[in-house]
């Protein structure tokens, strides 16, 4: 099919998935590549995107009111993320713009990494690996003891598909699972706490798996961290801003909490430098979902969503209004 008969899809900055699968994507769609144009974004949109109905973006491309204003025909946002904090949801709602996201494509990889980070912090895996690589084992003798996973009370913040995946995995290690969520979920064997502080007070570790929005911004604050306590561990695979990062660093430095495994930060890729000096933190460059399997799954889902929209079929992974 000639390119101009293919449905148009706008891309402001290319998501990894687009770059990896551009050939396959381009068989079915004609992509307007804003980043390749010398024009500033809004000029590009004004010139080329007046009739564009769909945009493909990632979580690092903010879809602001201004952008939306320059896309009068927009009906669909397909984001390669599970998070929506980069999208002006109220404006989309007002305009009747549908949103399709990454659905459950990432849940397993994300849950895997959350568990990996928790084990690493409790059992000091990265720290002990550093110890061995520095040639210290013959000099310093036995490595300091870690902490057993079995019997630990793990509080999961956000019990969506990622949180449930974490719960299922940690149960096999003998962890006792409880959670905090907007609403209690029926038919689960896990104890529900209605706020993060109470969850923290009754947990040995917190695993953050929820979305970032106005309610969850800085939800994990000094109060929650103090409630968690000096032996407590925090793992974050959600969004950096769910935790008050400044407070977290202070608590870690002062020994108010026991350790942290962090995949996300408030201002990636810039991190508070104090974190680099700590042995009881594990730092991960936002790669909870960076596997070829996730990327492939994502491609099929994004492709599927675009195809569904342009053939008037239901989206595969719509963001539903709650």
């Amino acid at each position: 099919m000639a390119e101009d008969h293919l449905p148009q899809v706008l891309v402001l900055r290319p998501p990894k998935c687009f770059t990896a699968y551009e050939t396959q994507f381009s068989e079915k769609f004609h992509f307007l590549k804003a980043w390749e144009s010398p024009l500033p974004t809004t000029d590009f949109l004004a010139t080329h995107a007046a009739s564009v109905e769909a945009i493909l973006c990632n979580s690092f491309t903010p879809i602001t009111a201004d952008i939306l204003h320059h896309l009068p025909s927009l009906k669909l946002i397909v984001t390669t993320s599970v998070g929506h904090d980069h999208i002006n949801l109220p404006e989309c709602r007002r305009r009747g713009i549908s949103i399709a996201d990454a659905g459950h494509v990432f849940s397993e990889d994300c849950a895997d990494l959350a568990v990996g980070l928790l084990i690493d912090v409790l059992r000091k895996i990265s720290a002990a690996d550093r110890f061995v690589r520095a040639g210290l084992w013959p000099i310093s003798g036995d490595y300091p003891l870690g902490s057993k996973l079995g019997g630990k009370r793990v509080g999961i913040v956000g019990l969506g598909s990622i949180g449930l995946g974490v719960a299922k995995r940690l149960e096999a290690f003998g962890c006792i699972i409880s959670y905090n969520s907007r609403k209690e979920k029926a038919n689960l064997p896990y104890r529900f706490y209605s706020n993060a502080c109470e969850l923290g007070a009754n947990s040995d570790a917190l695993v953050i798996c929820c979305a970032l929005n106005d309610e969850t911004h800085h939800m994990i604050n000094k109060e929650v961290m103090k409630a968690l306590g000096k032996e407590g561990v925090i793992v974050n695979v959600g969004r950096g801003a769910i935790i008050d990062e400044k407070e977290l660093v202070q608590c870690l430095v002062e020994g108010e909490i026991g350790g942290a495994g962090l995949d996300v930060f408030e201002n990636e890729p810039d991190l508070p430098e104090e974190l680099f000096t700590l042995d009881n933190v594990v730092l991960s460059p936002h790669l909870a979902v960076a596997t070829p399997e996730s990327l492939s799954g994502l491609f099929h889902l994004m492709m599927g969503n675009l195809e569904a929209y342009f053939s008037n079929k239901p989206l595969l992974s719509p963001l539903l209004d709650e």
Binding site: K16, E108, D109, A111, D112, L113, V115, G116, L117, I119, D120, L122, R123, K124, I125, S126, A128, D129, R130, F131, V132, R133, G135, W137, P138, G141, D142, Y143, L145, G146, S147, K148, L149, G150, G151, K168, R169, E171, A172, F173, G174, E268, P269, D270, L271, F276, V282, L283, S284, P285, L287, A290, T291, P292, E293, S294, L295
Partner: protein, 313 residues
């Protein structure tokens, strides 16, 4: 019991040492300039030896301590104890099974995730400031990957149970097939390695299992394969492991035990696809206390003529 001579082979557990000191007449083997001297002076005083995976009770020691009645090992592995000689001389032997099973299995999964998802490597990447220069590479998904276990004892089964929570298909090699599991049995390690992506060593060390993971096995596992050793260093041909990794014939390795601890082949320090741990399989406060209590419990049972808690011989 304070007059009973108990010898501790090496520093291993401050709580255990403290309690032994309280309850018995404790001899610290490493306090003496030479074993010859120690044996000369104290050989008739020692009725019990407490050893571990570093130093147990070999033929020389057993012969040098004629009054020894029991070896209580603070480990589940018995490879440092001359069991045949103990049997022969009617010396009792105990170890610390079960209490460390979960910790070792937990660490196994931790190592798998650290290798596949490159957790340690990406932590280095962030700490060095490299993230500002660009995204880290893709890593490998763990959920659903095939896990092959050498040895389906307590630890092997605990590893399987955890890996199942990640939807991993489980297969194993063992001297004999075990009834009552849904796991696929392979009658040889080569076949196991040819049919899994992650190979876990979880068996006991014996003359039969020495270098059970050799060059052939590593080649069968292949450039995408990963070896996880939480058994004993000598399970894996370490020289071959190094060359397989350096040459890319093996995808990665998570190693908690080495042939000559605490020495680790330096070539491994340059590799990004390995995680190297200083024998911390049972290294948690909770478990080391439980192990120590089991050692103490066994010793007390023996000297009070009660049934041993966890006898091996």
């Amino acid at each position: 019991m304070e007059s009973i001579g108990v010898m501790l082979t090496c520093p291993m557990n401050p709580y255990l040492e403290q309690e032994l000191d309280k309850r018995f007449k404790l001899f610290r083997f490493w306090d003496y300039p030479s074993s010859k001297e120690f044996f000369k002076e104290h050989s008739n005083s020692i009725r019990a030896v407490v050893g571990n995976s570093t130093m147990g009770a070999d033929a020389e020691m057993i012969e040098a301590l004629p009054k020894m009645e029991i070896v209580s090992s603070c480990s589940v592995g018995l490879d440092k104890i001359d069991l045949a000689r103990c049997k022969e001389k009617k010396i009792r032997v105990t170890n610390t099974p079960d209490v460390l099973t979960e910790d070792v299995a937990d660490l196994t999964i931790g190592l798998i995730l650290a290798i596949l998802r490159r957790i340690c490597e990406s932590d280095r990447y962030v700490r060095s400031g490299s993230w500002k220069g660009g995204d880290f590479k893709l890593t490998t998904k763990f959920t659903g990957k095939s896990v092959g276990i050498i040895g389906l004892g307590r630890i092997g089964l605990a590893v399987a149970k955890r890996a199942e929570a990640f939807d991993c298909p489980i297969s194993y090699y063992s001297r004999t097939e075990k009834p009552g599991t849904n796991y696929k049995y392979y009658p040889s390690v080569i076949e196991l390695a040819s049919n899994c992506q992650i190979l876990v060593v979880a068996c006991a060390l014996s003359p039969e299992t020495f270098h059970i993971v050799n060059r052939e096995v590593m080649d069968a596992l292949g450039p995408k394969g990963v070896v996880i050793n939480i058994g004993r260093g000598s399970h894996v041909d370490e020289t071959e492991l190094v060359s397989a990794l350096v040459e890319g014939r093996l995808g990665g390795a998570g190693i908690d035990v080495f042939e000559n601890e605490p020495n680790v082949p330096e070539e491994l320090f340059a590799l990004d696809n390995v995680v190297l741990l200083p024998h911390v399989g049972s290294g948690t406060f909770e478990t080391r206390k439980a192990m120590a209590d089991l050692v103490l419990g066994n010793l007390e049972a023996h000297f009070l003529n009660k049934p041993l808690l966890t006898p091996v011989v």
